[in-house]
């Protein structure tokens, strides 16, 4: 779609082009694609996959320890996702490290949800020491409040840093602070990392920060 837009001499935007698709009625779109010989069958219904046993046993351990404080979002092959309140995250992280054997963080990502006024902070945890956990990644997610007008470091988007539990989150949390404005309490070094020193705009990975021409 975008290439067609470019031919018109307009800056193409995927956001706009997907609206174009919607503006065609279903039948028209189907005919359009059928003429071109492109398969336009609706997405096949997703078959529920069997829940793997080993992963289930890990998630059960977390669920039984913290009963109502955590939610197990999914258990898949090699991937478990657990979400918790930001007040409880330190306890859960301690449990995950000491009892389950996860020992390092692979990444810390933020995801901005402007509709529910929350920013999700996602830790991907892995293990080097435990041979059985080598193919597992545990996703620990929590949500912090999101301010309409952010003032990084001074507003209510803050949570406890996990640095004392997983030392490896140090640089990842610094990145998350500057990209989303989530302040990590207890982090020794909440400084700027990647952005220019004179960056005066809002944190760039928030959804209300628009990039040029989009």
């Amino acid at each position: 779609m975008s290439s067609e837009n470019e031919k018109d001499g307009q800056p193409s935007g995927t956001a706009e082009s997907s609206e174009d698709v919607k503006s065609l009625s279903k039948d028209e779109a189907k005919k359009f694609y059928e003429e071109k010989g492109i398969d336009f069958s609706p997405d096949a219904p997703v078959k529920p996959k069997p829940i793997p046993q080993f992963e289930k046993s890990i998630s059960d351990k977390i669920a039984s320890k913290f009963s109502s404080k955590v939610t197990v979002d999914y258990v898949r092959n090699g991937r478990i996702r657990v979400s918790t309140k930001k007040e409880d995250i330190l306890d859960v992280a301690h449990f995950i490290r000491d009892e389950l054997g996860y020992d390092h963080a692979e990444s810390v990502s933020g995801v901005d949800y402007p509709d529910s006024k929350e920013i999700e902070v996602v830790y991907h945890l892995g293990s080097y020491t435990d041979e059985k956990l080598a193919n597992q990644v545990l996703t620990l997610a929590t949500r912090v409040p999101r301010e309409e007008i952010p003032t990084p470091g001074k507003d209510s988007s803050r949570m406890t840093s996990l640095r004392e539990v997983f030392y490896s989150v140090e640089f990842h949390e610094r990145e998350c602070f500057e990209m989303f404005g989530v302040y990590f309490e207890g982090h020794p070094d909440n400084r700027r990392l990647l952005l220019p020193e004179d960056w005066a705009d809002i944190p760039p990975f928030r959804k209300d920060f628009k990039i040029k021409g989009r």
């Binding site: 952005l195 220019p196 020193e197 705009d201 760039p204 920060f209 990039i211 040029k212 021409g213 989009r214």
Partner: protein
């Protein structure tokens, strides 16, 4: 003096003196014939600053590898301090954090100095035209002599760019 200049043993020294100190005065005094001599010296010693800015530096490295061996043209000998350099090859994306540093490096180089903008990013922003942290081309920061297009440019393209710069210098005024 001319005899001394063409003497094989003292020639490098004499050229240095000409280009460095007396160049300006002599050129103004003697005029055109010396332009040629001075430019001739300049085109065989285009030494770039060691400033990598983005992924194009991979192809810059490949240009000095044995297959392309760009040093045979007397250009891009990759060592030397900033104060001895007369060429700056901007290897790709200039971010907003790098731009002041790039200008600072350029300002510290002695005259005459030449700029090659290497890669689509350095020319217009390239793939990153809509990124929040990338300058749309470096012409706002530095006066560019040669544009080398590509993403990344093949080493042959870079060599051609350098040779175009040599051509350009040949036709420049000596000082």
């Amino acid at each position: 003096m001319l005899k001394e200049f063409f003497n094989q043993e003292t020639a490098p020294h004499a050229t240095n003196v000409l280009v460095g100190k007396l160049g300006d005065i002599l050129v103004r005094a003697v005029g055109k014939p010396l332009d040629y001599a001075i430019n001739w010296g300049r085109i065989w010693s285009l030494w770039p600053v060691h400033l990598e800015t983005a992924c194009c530096s991979v192809e810059f490295g490949a240009a000095s590898s044995p297959r392309y061996d760009v040093e045979r043209f007397g250009i891009i000998e990759a060592f030397g301090s900033l104060r001895q350099c007369d060429l700056i090859v901007v290897m790709g994306t200039i971010t907003r954090k790098m731009a002041p540093r790039l200008r600072m490096v350029y300002d510290q180089m002695p005259d005459p100095k030449y700029v090659i903008a290497m890669g689509a990013c350095a020319i217009t922003g390239g793939l990153y035209f809509d990124s929040y942290n990338v300058l749309p081309g470096i012409d706002g920061v530095l006066p560019v002599d040669i544009y080398v297009p590509g993403c990344p440019p093949r080493p042959e393209t870079l060599i051609q760019g350098c040779m175009l710069l040599q051509e350009k210098i040949k036709r420049m005024k000596g000082a």
